[in-house]
């Protein structure tokens, strides 16, 4: 093989440039702290990373949905708890004033308290979350119950997505928990609202038998509200379980992503050292070889 100066020069230039390129690659990766800088560095990893990221973004959205849903549900639970307290107080009054030893005046005072209880229960049933009446179903601009206690909502179940196919309702429909107080002559024909109104009327009319009847209706109302709380509690529980399993999934994805995208600093540092050494060797060899020439020998 004839080795000319150009062959030496070219091979020197190539090895130095190749080395430079590899050094540059290692350096940019270290400074960006990423294993791959372009899609073509590892197309399969790029594809996988894109899928994982889309997946993670949606999971995080589910988490966001759940945290919003939980606060909405908790609002309803609080309202139901309030209604339960008021109904318990109404039942106490019913038990107390069903006994014959009270005067009409006593019952009149109790009726006044019942009026207050009714207003409280109505306020709870018309709880708002922002501009939405939470017990109204989809017609959330309209209060769930009119001042007279007539049901004005619908059966709309407000759901959120907590999985790609899983959904969960974040509202309780007023009619389900407070009874279907449909209108009859402008007043409710059933449900908690009617029962409260009847108790007050019985007290006003000084009617111990009517008051006694209300003990049962109050019991029924309390039971309905408590079971409503239980339903919402179950949903809250389910959201919490889902939330924590989403948390686990997000962690797993983060680990996978890190495996795909993150730089192994120790490995890169070694690679850098290796490339530096190779670079120095290439330059040194080049220096030696190019100093060996016949021109020096034939100089006079």
């Amino acid at each position: 093989m004839r080795v000319t100066e150009k062959i030496l020069n070219d091979s020197l230039r190539r090895s130095v440039m190749d080395n430079r390129e590899r050094l540059f690659n290692v350096q940019t990766r270290i400074s960006a702290n990423r294993k791959n800088l372009t899609l073509s560095d590892d197309p399969r990893a790029a594809e996988k990373a894109a899928q994982l990221k889309a997946n993670r973004a949606e999971l995080e959205q589910f988490r966001r949905n759940i945290s919003f849903g939980k606060s909405t549900l908790e609002l309803s639970v609080d309202a139901l708890r309030g209604v339960e307290e008021q109904l318990s107080r109404a039942r106490e009054l019913a038990v107390q004033f069903s006994s014959g030893e009270y005067t009409a005046e006593d019952r009149g005072l109790a009726a006044a308290e019942m009026g207050e209880i009714y207003r409280q229960v109505l306020a709870y049933a018309n709880t708002r979350n922002g501009s939405d009446y939470v017990f109204s179903g989809f017609g959330s601009n309209t209060p769930a119950y009119s001042a007279d206690g007539v049901w004005q909502g619908d059966a709309g179940s407000r759901q959120i997505r907590i999985g790609q196919v899983e959904r969960i309702a974040v509202n309780a429909v007023g009619a389900d928990v407070f009874g279907s107080s449909t209108a009859a002559g402008g007043v409710p024909a059933g449900g908690v609202m009617r029962d409260l109104r009847e108790l007050r009327t019985a007290l006003e009319n000084n009617d111990p038998a009517g008051v006694r009847n209300s003990i049962d209706t109050m019991d029924a109302g309390i039971q309905s509200v408590v079971s409503g709380q239980a339903t919402l509690g179950t949903r809250l529980k389910r959201m919490e379980v889902t939330e924590s399993s989403i948390g686990d999934l997000v962690m797993t994805i983060a680990e996978q992503l890190s495996g795909i995208e993150d730089l192994d600093i120790a490995e890169m540092a070694m690679e850098l050292k290796k490339q530096e050494t190779a670079f120095q060797a290439a330059v040194e060899v080049a220096g030696r070889i190019s100093s060996m020439t016949l021109l020096d020998a034939v100089k006079r």
Binding site: M1, R2, V3, T4, E5, K6, I7, D10, S11, R14, L37, T38, L39, S40, D41, D42, P43, R44, A46, E47, K48, A50, Q51, K53, A54, N55, A57, E58, Q61, F62, R64, N65, F68, G69, T72, G130, S131, D132, S136, G137, F138, G139, S140, N141, D154, G156, R158, Q159, I160, R161, Q164, R167, V170, T293, L294, L295, V298
Partner: protein, 480 residues
């Protein structure tokens, strides 16, 4: 003639021979860094002999010619392979630019924008009457639309760059071709005079190599040493001493003003419009790469993005149209049957025309979160948020995020594969260049030894003349 006069004559010829040797050496040394130069060698041959009854006596040495050290096979391989390299290099650079559009470095990638858009619907489902949530749906949609339009306009820029390259390359090719035809003429004259025009052959070799980098061609060398060049499907570009040319001409019937490549064969003098178009039959070199990139790869990538834009737009519109917004106006009416994005007429141009419907942008109450006219109904927003997970036949039965991931992987592997091809070709060319250099390159060490060789021989020949001179002198002395 024989005897000492003959010896003198032989020495005189030897002086000339070795001087020529030194001149060739000097020329080699001078051209050590000249690209395409082929090492030359003085071919020294015996000058014949005179016969005597005691045998033959040699008549010294003469220069038989100046040999150019070239291996035609290596030369043509190198020309071909470096043309291939040049073409792959162009493709790798261009495809790399396309990849750059999709690299996720800014955090505002198309995938992020798509996710942001659908997530906004989830947020809206939690609060279907929320003004802020509605605003977010509209603004993430604007962001998504801008993302599609941005990609489209970047692809268009790359296309117009490639188109400019076509015109530039055509100009360069024409220049090279004209020079080749000129050199052909000079080589013909030299050949006719029985000379080998080493420098002209080297120069033409360089030009042919440079031409191979720009466009693929075939050649036929005629008996006078002239190279005829053919491009496309055997269209004549150089015919001996006359050069034809390529013409970059805008096709007025094409909606996109791109250059067609036409050929004007040597001696033809017709206007550009009546020339034959050879755009699709151009193969090899950067010109073919630029054309393929402009008309092929870029359009393929654009089609993939358009397909996505069209699928997202039409799917969202169909779902949005069945939903209800919030009551507007007085008496209040609940908007329904509305588009979310401006309707897209076809896959082609979908990302260019991707816009949020003006009615949505003007009043976010037109955003349909409900399945009924009730304001607290969020069922349509749930369906909108879930659209991303529905496999679509238009996307090859993939859901949107998977399609995007697949598209990124595909662009990545395409870039990688042309990059690997290019790097592999580089090693092929490097190897061939080394081989050419082994045969045709100038080695200074070798030239130094040759110089010493000729110098010594020259010295010896002068010594010879001096001796003959002394002999003649002593003969003259003897007479006197």
């Amino acid at each position: 003639m024989s005897g000492i006069y003959m010896a003198m004559e032989i020495a005189r010829k030897a002086l000339i021979v070795n001087q020529v040797g030194m001149q060739v050496t000097a020329n080699n040394v001078a051209n050590v860094n000249t690209p395409g130069y082929s090492r030359q060698e003085a071919v020294i041959t015996e000058a014949g002999a005179s016969s005597y009854n005691f045998g033959q006596l040699g008549l010294g040495a003469v220069i038989g010619g100046i040999r150019r050290n070239v291996d035609a096979f290596t030369e043509s391989q190198l020309t071909f392979e470096s043309g291939v390299y040049s073409s792959l290099d162009y493709t790798a650079r261009s495809v790399g630019q396309v990849e750059g559009i999709f690299n996720d470095t800014s955090g505002a990638s198309l995938a992020d924008r798509v996710t942001g858009f659908y997530n906004a619907w989830d947020d809206l489902s939690s609060n279907p009457q929320g003004t802020a949530e509605r605003q977010t749906v509209a603004s993430t949609a604007e962001l998504l639309a801008a993302g599609f339009r941005q990609i489209d306009s970047r692809l268009s820029t790359l296309k117009s760059d490639a188109n400019k390259d076509v015109a530039t390359l055509v100009g360069e090719i024409n220049q090279t071709v004209a020079q080749i035809a000129d050199l052909n003429g000079n080589i013909k004259i030299a050949t006719a005079q029985g000379r080998q025009a080493n420098d002209l052959l080297d120069q033409r070799g360089v030009l042919l190599k440079s031409l191979a980098g720009k466009v693929g061609y075939t050649t036929v060398t005629d008996s006078l040493g002239m190279v005829n060049v053919y491009v496309g499907n055997g269209r004549v570009l150089v015919d001996g001493e006359t050069a034809g040319s390529l013409v970059a001409d805008v096709d007025p019937t094409n909606p996109e003003p791109v250059f067609d490549v036409k050929i004007r064969v040597p001696g033809q003098d017709s206007p550009a419009s009546s020339l034959d178009t050879i755009t699709t039959s151009i193969s090899g070199g950067q010109l073919a790469s630029a054309i393929r990139f402009r008309d092929g790869y870029l359009e393929t990538v654009r089609e993939r993005v358009d397909r996505l834009a069209y699928a997202i737009g039409t799917q969202a519109n169909a779902q949005h149209a069945v939903g209800y917004g919030l009551a507007v106006g007085s008496p209040p009416t609940v908007p329904t049957g509305m588009n979310f994005f401006s309707p897209l007429s076809s896959v082609t141009g979908a990302s260019r025309d991707f816009r949020v419907d003006p009615a949505i942008a003007a009043d976010t109450r037109n955003i349909a979160a409900a399945e009924t006219p009730l304001p607290g109904d969020n069922r349509n927003s749930l369906l909108m948020a879930g659209l991303r997970n529905i496999p679509m036949s238009a996307l090859g039965d993939s859901a949107i995020p998977d399609y995007i991931a697949g598209m990124l992987g595909q662009i990545g592997s395409e870039t990688r594969s042309v990059d690997l091809d290019m790097k592999h070709q580089k090693t092929v060319v490097d190897y061939l260049e080394t081989r050419r250099e082994e045969i045709s390159g100038v080695s200074l060490d070798e030239e130094m030894t040759n110089l010493i060789k000729f110098q010594r021989a020259f010295e010896a020949s002068t010594k010879m003349i001096a001796v003959v001179d002394q002999l003649l002198d002593s003969i003259i002395q003897m007479r006197g």
